[in-house]
Symmetry: C2
Subunit: 341 residues, 2 copies
Amino acid sequence: MALSDRRESILQIVIQDYIETATPVASRHVVERYALPTSAATIRHEMQLLESEGYLTHPHTSAGRIPSNRGYRHFVQSLMGHAELGVAEQATVRHQFFQAAPAVDEWADLAATVLAQSLGLLAIVAPPQPQRLRVRQLELISLNDLLALMIVVVQEARVIRQLTPLPAPCPPEQLDALAHRLNIDVSGQDADAVRNFPAADADEQAVLDTLARVLDRDIERSGAASIAGLGGVVSQPEFHAEPERSLQMIELVDRQTITQFVPHATLQAGGLRVLIGDDNPSDFLHDCSLVVAPYGAEYGRSGYVAIIGPTRMNYSRSVAAARFHSALLQEMMDTVYGGSA
Amino acid sequence: MALSDRRESILQIVIQDYIETATPVASRHVVERYALPTSAATIRHEMQLLESEGYLTHPHTSAGRIPSNRGYRHFVQSLMGHAELGVAEQATVRHQFFQAAPAVDEWADLAATVLAQSLGLLAIVAPPQPQRLRVRQLELISLNDLLALMIVVVQEARVIRQLTPLPAPCPPEQLDALAHRLNIDVSGQDADAVRNFPAADADEQAVLDTLARVLDRDIERSGAASIAGLGGVVSQPEFHAEPERSLQMIELVDRQTITQFVPHATLQAGGLRVLIGDDNPSDFLHDCSLVVAPYGAEYGRSGYVAIIGPTRMNYSRSVAAARFHSALLQEMMDTVYGGSA
DNA sequence: GTTAGCACTCTCACAGGGAGAGTGCCAGCG
DNA sequence: CGCTGGCACTCTCCCTGTGAGAGTGCTAAC
């Protein structure tokens, strides 16, 4: 059933006002602040209808109206429009990204920090998780005769460091030669290929073993998401009132387990999702909303940018910011690692 | 003035009981729980004396006694003895460390997590910060004609990655040659030397500029400490009562600014310090205590292991844990990087 | 359809009071 | 002279009640 124009704009006013003030909005407040050409009683009547249709509720008899989950959903789908971040803000963020070290983890850290800062909500940014890692370039640096530092640049946007022991003493020049030799062979290969590669001597074998092991290990490790904005989100009035919820949130962030609530498995490339209140599968987030935008699907299991906050979050800004950052991360990855993906 | 034996053991009982229960300890509670051969009135009398000497206070007339900062200090210096971590716990932690990747940052993460977990307090672990970085090896990887990925291996156990723009188009083979040429020149040099190096052409100049900038920048960045245990510390009853203090703590951790409260500048190699209450220079920590143990002084500006919690922390366990972890980190660094420092 | 008026309900803040906990002090005892 | 039992005193905590304020729901009139 469609809402009348006036009722729709009242719904929009109530939601935007509540998002801003975090207090139930009263009929009189609406007519005064927004200079409507009707009386408070009329607004009350319309609000009653909106409530009977499930878009609004009120916490108790003598309180103003607050949006229901259904109200928020309608707002996100039909009312809020399609905002974008300001040009100046976009430029600032872009600049920061190009200043940063060109590593996916660093970008994730940076994106999480910037998002958290600008929204005052919890931001989680996970880098894409490659299915397999393929060597792009291999360097060996002699620490001493029996120990070398291995540096592997992989095609999947990552640099790995690992110590590798050498069974036989190997002076620096010889090690250089070894690296040069192996580079030709292993370039573009994944762990399995490296493992099956015939080694010429014991040193080569040791290096190949370490390399294969490290390629496997780093796949696991690369899932680590960056989280920022805990301070902002627990400062939100909804958490202020319930200390035990704050504590749960803090624990979840401290142990990084909050990431399990992001439905990354069901994301479509390029698709942005907004989960409002009980859309969230987890009980813990039943009073929260989550905005998630995937990126980098072509680099393995998709990475994502997620925003978590109370259902009374600024959806317009959150969606715009999530969209912008996921696109930017995609662009960064394509620029730096795209040529070889 | 020396305390009588009995008064001293009453002080010890009060402090240990308060550390355990977090509630002011009453005279009757002491005689009952610890089966003392005296009456509550006697204990009360002794407590009055301890209070007049400044070792105890009580929050209001009809409350039991709590230790004052002076009481805690006396406890730490004379009463608590010198505990060590259990053998089994030591073995478990050692095992975890030798499983981890051989990178200082990883160790710091691990140590912070383990400490926070086992103490229920905030743990901060900072890796040693080198005074200057010297190039060991430089690699340039062509991303496209105008953009290269620079990888710098520095002698101080660190790998830096950075994007560098190229003013003139430069195909991969040419870039390789450039890297090879520069490598001979910059190997062993620090930022200042690199900056003063005469460049042969515009590309070389651009690379050298980026390199010098990056060497400087990474010194700052390498201080990044690992922090864990926020959940544990704000669950402590002293924070539970004061939400705005919790919020401050959360903000400080979220923005990593809590590290500025660790007095790392004044640390002696091998020396462990315990700052109790207003020993702390910062107002924010006036109701907290801090245990800090340095390590790795020979690798630059000393790293440290720090524990932060309410003054009512378990000093014995905290000191033992901090001491153990700093020694372990020292040992790990010596094993892996000792040869080349 | 809109509006003014009014009764009703619920929250919030504050004050008062009783129970409980623990001390401080005093007088008496070994 | 140190130790102890007893008792009055004080302070917190929790519960209750009350009054003001806010905002709605309803009704009757325009």
